[in-house]
């Protein structure tokens, strides 16, 4: 169950012009959190933007958790300006995370762009439970590769690829996954919808995906974050809610793009 907590900002790192990493002290949330869950952050005291902003939990360490994000709008712009010592109201851990009750398996993690955000906490947990972890990180170029070192330090085998070949081979995360898909027992992915759709079509093992979408309340109250999940007998679309049913879904549970 989620909680609300006024969390102290411990550290803010500007990784690129528009990419930030923030570490919070949020004991109540961090202690209960699982990889793949999110925190819903109140970015403004002044009702503008009106709603919270959801961020995958990036790293987890006892009483602390971090978020990794790109500035895309007013909420993230305000969040990028916080300074250590400030407190922000967080709601979390929210949603359903990745299934982490596995051990002795070879797990493939596949991240596209900012989809790398939830992978460090996930890799850390899976490795602690005696799994072998191979993390594929696909990015636009070398500058946009994040968390590769951290995950390598945790003990994951990290494979980087970029659109322009400035780091690793000139490949997309999906094409690299295609080459390795038979080697893993299960795959966990996060990234753009088109990437997830392609992976879903070629997956050779169970595939779990984390969806990024606009979320309203984050607690299942508003029914705003509807994701098509199938059809009724008479052809009506049935929806699941990303905030409480996800953000992590088994690939078969959701319809991503119209085929």
């Amino acid at each position: 169950m989620w909680k609300q907590e006024n969390a102290e900002v411990l550290e803010v790192k500007r990784l690129l012009d528009d990419v930030f990493w923030i570490k919070f002290k949020a004991a109540r949330i961090a202690q209960d959190a699982a990889p793949g869950q999110f925190v819903h952050v109140l970015c403004s005291d002044h009702y503008s933007p009106f709603l919270r902003r959801p961020f995958s939990i990036n790293r987890l360490d006892k009483d602390e958790l971090s978020v990794l994000f790109k500035v895309v709008g007013e909420g993230t712009r305000l969040l990028s300006r916080v300074t250590p010592g400030q407190t922000l109201n967080l709601l979390g851990p929210a949603g359903r995370g990745f299934p982490v009750n596995v051990s002795g398996a070879h797990v493939l993690l596949v991240a596209g762009g900012m989809g790398v955000a939830p992978m460090p906490a996930l890799a850390h947990r899976l490795l602690a439970q005696g799994n072998r972890v191979t993390a594929i990180i696909g990015a636009r170029n070398a500058r946009y590769v994040f968390e590769a070192e951290y995950m390598a330090q945790c003990g994951a085998e990290v494979l980087v690829c970029t659109d322009d070949g400035s780091a690793g081979p000139r490949l997309t995360a999906t094409s690299m996954y295609r080459e390795l898909r038979d080697k893993g027992d299960v795959a966990y992915a996060c990234g753009p919808l088109a990437m997830l759709q392609e992976m879903k079509q070629c997956a050779a093992t169970p595939l779990w995906i984390s969806l990024e979408t606009r979320i309203g309340c984050g607690t299942g109250l508003c029914l705003g974050c509807a994701q098509p999940s199938g059809y009724t007998e008479d052809g009506q679309v049935v929806y699941r809610k990303v905030c409480i049913d996800g953000p992590v879904f088994h690939a078969s549970e959701v319809v991503l793009l119209e085929d």
Partner: protein, 336 residues
């Protein structure tokens, strides 16, 4: 000083004057132990229909300047599943108001009969949902239709009947009077304002249904004006809502003449918004040496608080007037 928040709305008694508005607090089961439900007067559950509805395609919710627009489309499990599976899970400490929405008069009558069970404290007749392609909103736009519908619902339930009014009606006062004449025990207002957003890159409306409902602080002053007008024109208690964020906003609605308020959009930002608002009302009452919340009701009106209960004649209009005259009349009555 002992502060009494007990709120009486005709046949309905609540422990606090703040209600969770329909569609913004789920079924009262979503917040677990994280929100102190004992501070909430009642939860008005998400609108229910006879059959399950799967709702509108995304996007369903966007932010605007100081507000939100939604087009959820009355997604709900249907009345039967609600009664069998969800209602028993709602914490006993929380009073339940069931919001019903339909297309035909028969839909509403059947729904009203089905939810007339002990666990339900009142019925809110939704004649104002702007996001479904049936007749729901049409009922609330027209005084005669609202009158007929209210009368029909009243005959099929023993529960207190609340009629939820739409600000999209040409004259909401006229519709409120029609609801009262139809037998409504309480009226609640306002539902969302019909609004539009356009995606300039796609050159298309953002929402699949073109229009969507605007709520939040952006609409509060207009909602407050309507609550003032309706409170001056009907004798039944009024539940005021529209963009309430904090205790000061809630106090304004009470002082405008609402006997209770409902909080909607604010729950989506902070699920614990209502207990905080109730605390704020209590603090205000303590500071102002007000012992009972009813003393606040209508406090800003020229006729003053409590006067209406002493049997003063209220300005009163009947349905059937020329709409132009009605509009002007309503403005004069507001005392502006």
């Amino acid at each position: 000083m002992k502060i009494d928040l007990t709120t009486t709305l005709g046949p309905l008694t609540l422990c606090s004057p703040v209600i969770a508005a329909s569609g913004t607090f789920g079924y009262g089961t979503e917040t677990g132990t994280e929100v102190d439900l004992r501070r909430i007067g009642a939860v008005c559950v998400k609108g229910l229909t006879l059959l399950p509805r799967y709702g509108n395609p995304p996007p369903r919710l966007i932010e605007t300047a100081c507000g939100i627009m939604n087009s959820v489309g009355l997604e709900n499990p249907g009345i039967d599943r609600f009664i069998e599976e969800i209602l028993p899970r709602i914490p006993q400490s929380l009073k339940v108001i069931v919001n019903i929405a339909g297309g035909t008069l028969e839909d509403y009558v059947t729904l009203a009969a089905k939810v007339s069970i002990p666990r339900v404290s009142a019925l809110e007749v939704n004649v104002s949902c702007p996001n479904v392609r049936n007749q729901c909103l049409a009922w609330g736009l027209d005084p005669t239709a609202t009158f007929e519908l209210t009368r029909a619902v009243k005959t099929s339930t023993h529960l207190p009947v609340i009629v939820k009014l739409t600000p999209n009606a040409p004259d909401i006062v006229e519709v409120a009077i029609a609801a009262e004449e139809g037998g409504a025990d309480i009226v609640s207002l306002v539902n969302t304002f019909l609004a539009l957003s356009i995606d300039v890159e796609r050159r298309r409306p953002v929402f699949a249904n073109t229009f969507a409902g605007l709520s939040g602080p952006a609409i509060m002053p207009i909602a407050l004006r309507m609550v003032w007008q309706v409170s001056g024109a009907v004798s039944v208690p009024v539940i005021g809502m529209g963009g309430i964020l904090n205790a000061r906003d809630a106090l304004q609605f009470l002082m405008a003449g609402a006997s209770a308020v409902a909080v909607g959009s604010a729950n989506l930002r902070d699920p614990a918004a209502i207990p905080a608002i109730v605390d704020g009302i209590e603090e205000f009452m303590e500071r102002e040496a007000i012992s009972h919340v009813s003393e606040l009701v209508g406090a800003a009106r020229p006729e003053g608080p409590g006067n209406r209960r002493l049997g003063q004649t209220k300005p009163r209009r009947r349905t059937g007037y020329c709409p132009e005259d009605e509009g002007a009349d309503a403005l004069f009555q507001s005392g502006t």
